[in-house]
Structure formats: C-alpha cells, structure tokens
C-alpha cells in the first residue's frame, strides 16, 4: 500500500458498501465450489451444519476480499474497473476496512471450527493468509506469475468444503483444487488481454505488461493444455462418472480451441474487432468452471438412484 492517508472515508457508507467490500462476485464462486466440495464428499453432514459451514467459508472469503481492498486501495484508485470501490470512492476509510476484514476473518474461522471441525477452520485461516499476505502483499506487485501462485487461494474452497465433511484431505479434493488452480491463469490472462491499459497504469506486473501480449497468448494455450488432463482425470475418481467425463471432454476441447484461436491472432486483428475472441474465451471460462463443478454435483445427486458415479 503506497499511502494510507490518501484515502479518507466520509463516514456515509451504506450497507451495500460494506457488502461490496466482501467482493460478492468472488464470494459466489467460493460458495458454489465449497458447496460442491462438501456435497460430493462421502461423509454426510447435517443440513444446518452444512449451510452454516458454507456461510462461514463465504464470510472468510469475503473477509480476505476486504483485506485485499484495504491493501490495494492505491491500485484500485488508478484502475477504471475498480475506481468506484468503497475505499478509493471515499465512502469507507482504509482503517475501517482493515478492522472489518480482520474481525470477519476471526469470526469466520472460529465459527467454522465450532460448527464443523478445527481442521477445516485452520484451512480457512490459511486460505485468508495466503490470499492477503502471499498474493496481495507479496506476489501481486512483484512477479508476473502473481496470478498462477495467487490462484491457489481461490482454489482452496472446495478442499475446505470437503474437509468440513471428512475432516481431512484426499485425492478427490486435491483434484478439485488443481482444477481451479490450473484454470485461473488462462481465465485471468484472457481478461488481461483486453484490460491491458488498466494494469499498466496501476503498475501491476501482469504477464501482458512484462512479457508482452504474444507471450501471454502462448501462456494461455499452454495452461489450457495442462488443465485438460487434470480436469478429465478428476472424472475417474470417486467423485466423477460418465456424465462428468463427457462434460469435461467437451468443455476442455472447446477451451483448447478458444486458446488456439487466441494464439493465432495478431494484435492488430484483435484490436480491430475489439478483442472479440478474447472476451468470448473469458466468458466461456466462467461457464467452463461452473459446468465442471455442476457435473460433479450431478454425479453425486444421481448416486442414490444408482445412476451417478462409476
């Protein structure tokens, strides 16, 4: 954070401003993947305990979002996409966001420990630490690989959901983690390709800024190629099944095709059509993740009727 005194809150923040500090869009991904991790686990959980656990995992994710916004307020003020966030917008003071984030972190970890188990609570605490300290404070401003390693923070929620049910880690939960972990770089780099000016202005070493767009396009293809075996491989474990494998094969073929189209494009061509392909691949990548986890859920939901799984 460059200058903590450059942002002063007016004290007029509404409920929505505090809610937006929790990054609700990211939170929805956390809720969905954690829920799938919990529901596909082989151990049953009481519905209220499951609901409470998902809520506390989401709250922990939101808390890390608030701490990230506190730390990155100077970057947010420069980027068009984030200029109206509560801190650069002057509606919430940085210190207030820090206190809010720390308090919610403590509440979410303690409550998850009490509601589910202390292993999942420790995992949540580690995830918050990883996102705030390892990603936001350390990697984001120092390396173009920020997205790759930092993406782990967003990949932990299904493992936490699984840990809520089982109290541990297994090959299935690691594969769900690996799926999101490998998906994050091509997803964000596709976004960075049509948001370059923003990241440059904020001096964030995105791959597009440090290595150029051609190299970023190649990186997207390499990661989608590495992602495919992970995504399809997960289908041959206890959480997969024929439906999941079919969905994964189709989606990965489409993702690789999209990445291939991105690689083949020249910058002038992309600029001329307003980054049409890049935007399309970015939108598809969201659907890609949603459908993979939806397929895991479908396999688990069909099991009682003898249809899901192998």
């Amino acid at each position: 954070m460059s200058d903590i005194n450059s942002f002063e809150g007016t004290g007029d923040a509404g409920f929505n401003d505090y809610f937006s500090l929790l990054k609700p869009r990211v939170m929805s991904l956390v809720v969905f993947t954690a829920m799938v991790g919990l529901l596909v686990a082989p151990v049953g959980v009481h519905p209220l305990v499951a609901l409470a656990s998902i809520l506390f995992i989401a709250l922990g994710g939101g808390a890390s979002g608030a701490l990230n916004m506190w730390w990155d307020a100077d970057i947010d003020a420069v980027m068009k996409r984030t200029q109206s966030r509560p801190i650069p917008g002057g509606r919430i003071a940085p210190g207030e966001a820090l206190g809010f984030g720390l308090a919610l972190s403590g509440i979410s970890v303690m409550m998850l420990g009490l509601a589910a188990n202390w292993f999942s609570a420790a995992f949540l605490a580690f995830t918050i630490f990883f996102y705030v300290v390892i990603y936001s404070m350390w990697l984001k401003r120092t390396t173009p690989q920020n997205i790759v390693i930092g993406g782990a923070a967003g990949a932990f929620p299904p493992m936490i959901g699984w840990a809520v049910a089982t109290g541990g880690v297994s090959v299935e939960s690691v594969l769900m983690f690996a799926l999101i972990f490998m998906w994050t770089p091509p997803h964000f780099w596709a976004l960075a390709l049509f948001m370059k000016s923003d990241y440059s202005a904020a001096k964030v070493p995105m791959l597009t800024v440090t290595h150029g767009r051609k190299s970023t396009r190649k990186h997207i293809l390499v990661y989608t190629l590495l992602l495919a075996p992970v995504a399809i491989g997960a289908g041959f474990t206890s959480i997969g099944g024929p439906i999941y494998v079919a969905v994964a094969v189709v989606l990965n073929a489409m993702f690789i095709w999209g990445a291939w189209r991105i690689v083949r494009r020249e910058e002038a061509e992309a600029e001329a059509d307003g980054y049409k392909v890049e935007k399309k691949v970015f939108a598809f990548s969201l659907m890609y993740l949603f459908l993979h986890f939806g397929a895991f859920l479908a396999e688990a939901a069909l099991k009682p009727w003898g249809l899901g799984g192998w």
């Binding site: 509404g14 409920f15 809610f19 305990v49």
Partner: protein, 61 residues
C-alpha cells in the same frame, strides 16, 4: 413536532441491514447448538445427563 434527524435517515438502511445480519447470526448459532446437542445425545445414548449412562459401582448392582 418531532423531526427525524437527517443523519438517522441516511443511516437507516445500514442499521437495518446490520440488524437483520445479527438476527440471522443469532438464529444460526441457536440452530447449530440444537443440532450439536442432539448429535451428542445420540452418540452417548442420552439418558438424562450426557456421559453418565452408567455410574461407577452401578454396573455391579
């Protein structure tokens, strides 16, 4: 006549939101407590007081 202060008007939404969040939190903790107590009861073969199904000396009687 009583006139509502402008500050109260502005903060109404925020206070109401916080009130609802706290109410939901209390309800959730109450629900969790009921579930946990019931689960402990089921595990211990609940017979009035948890963990005292058989007191020392009573088994031989």
């Amino acid at each position: 006549m009583f006139r509502e202060h402008e500050l109260h008007k502005r903060r109404f939404g925020r206070n109401m939101g916080l009130g609802i969040v706290l109410a939901v939190f209390v309800a959730l903790v109450f629900g969790l407590t009921v579930v946990k107590v019931t689960e402990i009861g089921e595990k211990d073969g609940f017979q009035g007081v948890t963990g005292t199904a058989v007191l020392p000396g009573e088994a031989t009687r």
